[in-house]
Symmetry: C2
Subunit: 334 residues, 2 copies
């Protein structure tokens, strides 16, 4: 029996955003989304069985807050129920980037946890099932299971079994880059799920937002397969702005964007006017991100690093999917 | 016969925004809007008949650019046609604030011009007709004709005769203040009409935006009559954000907001958390504006003036409507 499992998954950035649930407990999205899995941002999680029935959750070697531990335990219960093995688990997890600052640590975190727990509890799953399982921990974790360029299907079923992500192109298909501008490392004012639900119920733009995301996902996959950078850039920027716009119009408004974030959008626009193709995106947090091609990445990163309000730049490239190691085997999802 | 007419009208700020036309040539709005007429921002325009049939247009004593002169001449043709008097007009107009920087100089400009021309050409109009006439020069000029707190009716008719503004409360009804944060005095990247039309045809949120504005206008008038500041503030902030959100979601996006503008929204929110009631608004330009009560205005103005990126603060109070003086009479619209 496997005694210790080590799982690593990368963060991802949505090019066509996921923002809205058709089912909250199961994290079923109201629309499909498209992402790029990001190296070097990752979560490494080590799992082993504990002596008793209680779980122990450590975040970077420090016992996690109770709320977070409970969320992990609840999630592990799915594997305990599936396997009939009700032992407690010792989970040690660490991110190589700040948590809860709009950098999607829950995506890499639950992708690693799902893959690690499946192996620890010896629950046999194919990649689609693993993605759907990660999704139950955190929606966008469905995408972090897969490598390269990823499409997360909305699905139609109430049980969510058809709402999983799959890689539409491996990392080596296209060397695009994401430059993350770090503006703040503090926690967000409001969690993603609360923001989504308030937008769904209180924004006059929610229905139009969800409707527009369907076409955008299809077009983005097409642009990825054809390596049409300008088209993918336009779709990416539009999706991010339309998502933030839908939130801004909620009552009361939800504004994750800060001044610096918005000025980086204007920077991208002025870079394009000067002939350098950079496109803005931003998730439910204040960190601006620029999508660009590998050939332009260094020059854009330099400009972003020098930009007022930007404390650091993380230079990301397409990453492989989740990797699992045990004392006997290694498995990696491309 | 009147030989020289001097007309003065104030700028206004929409609390419930006008952004979308049901008829472009007539400037008929797709939804009603609500505004406050603003002292001290004004346009003073002096009109007299020229010797021949050509118009002479001077902007602060300097001959205006041809494009602007043609717009004025075309507008004066309406009065020439109504009066049967086809003489040229000498127009000298000056604003006491920067033009074309999102501070609605066309609103005060066309309100003054309409009132002045009506008097010069001896065209008899009541205030509603004058407002509808100002509207044909620039949509929001319909509101600058009126004093205090103003409702601009959408109207239903194709000829626009029922789309005029009226004062719902005089300036002395409620001493609210608008603090305009001046971030830049340069011209806008894109004109309001082009922005409105692109939003109408290219934003998935346009229909929902227009729909939401109807209810907001009704609620804003109600809040003004009841002097319910919190309610008016919420409506004001929501209307501004929803308008900018509708533009942001257009393809390609329209983003008038700059980083500083957005940070002033966050400033308003943090002021409210600390117990000082300030609400954000912003028109189709980068200048943030804060709505507040007279008692809090000085302290908020001080904070805004010290805010990074803010070059100046213009402290505005409710103003009277358009005022017309001739060599023999003075007329002022409250």
């Amino acid at each position: 029996m496997t005694s210790e499992v080590k799982a690593r998954a990368h963060a991802n950035v949505a090019l066509v955003k996921y923002f809205g649930k058709r089912d909250v407990p199961l994290n079923l999205p109201a629309a499909p989304s498209v992402s790029m899995t990001l190296s070097p941002l990752n979560t490494e999680t080590v799992l082993s069985f504990a002596d008793g029935v209680d779980d122990q959750v450590l975040l970077a070697d420090v016992p996690a807050e109770e709320k977070f531990s409970r969320r992990i335990s609840k999630y592990l219960n799915i594997f305990r129920d599936l396997s009939g093995n009700h032992r407690g688990v010792r989970v040690t997890t660490s991110n190589n980037f700040p948590t809860a600052a709009g950098l999607a640590s829950s995506a890499s975190g639950f992708a690693a946890l799902a893959a690690g727990a499946a192996r620890l509890f010896d629950v046999n799953m194919d990649i689609a099932q693993l993605s759907a399982m990660a999704r139950r921990g955190s929606g966008s974790a469905a995408r972090s299971v897969c490598g390269g360029y990823v499409l997360w299907h909305r699905g139609e079923k109430n049980d969510g079994t058809d709402s999983f992500a799959e890689s539409v192109a491996p990392p080596e298909h296209w060397d695009l880059r994401i430059l993350v501008g770090v503006t703040t490392t503090g926690p967000k004012e409001i969690g993603s799920t609360v923001a989504m639900e308030r937008t769904r119920t209180e924004s006059p733009y929610y229905n139009a937002w969800i409707k527009s995301a369907h076409g955008a996902a299809k077009e983005a996959v097409d642009a990825i397969l054809k390596k049409d950078f300008e088209k993918l850039g336009d779709i990416t920027e539009h999706s991010a702005l339309a998502m933030h716009a839908a939130m801004m119009a909620a009552a009361p408004p939800i504004v994750f964007l800060k001044g610096t974030t918005l000025d980086v959008f204007h920077l991208a626009r002025s870079l394009r006017k000067e002939g350098t193709a950079a496109y803005f995106t931003c998730d439910a947090g204040p960190q601006p991100k620029l999508l660009c091609q590998a050939k332009d990445a260094d020059i854009i990163a330099r400009q972003l690093r020098a930009f007022p309000g930007i404390k650091d730049v993380i230079h990301c490239a397409p990453a492989e999917g989740v990797r699992v190691e045990t004392n006997t085997t290694t498995y990696c999802e491309k």
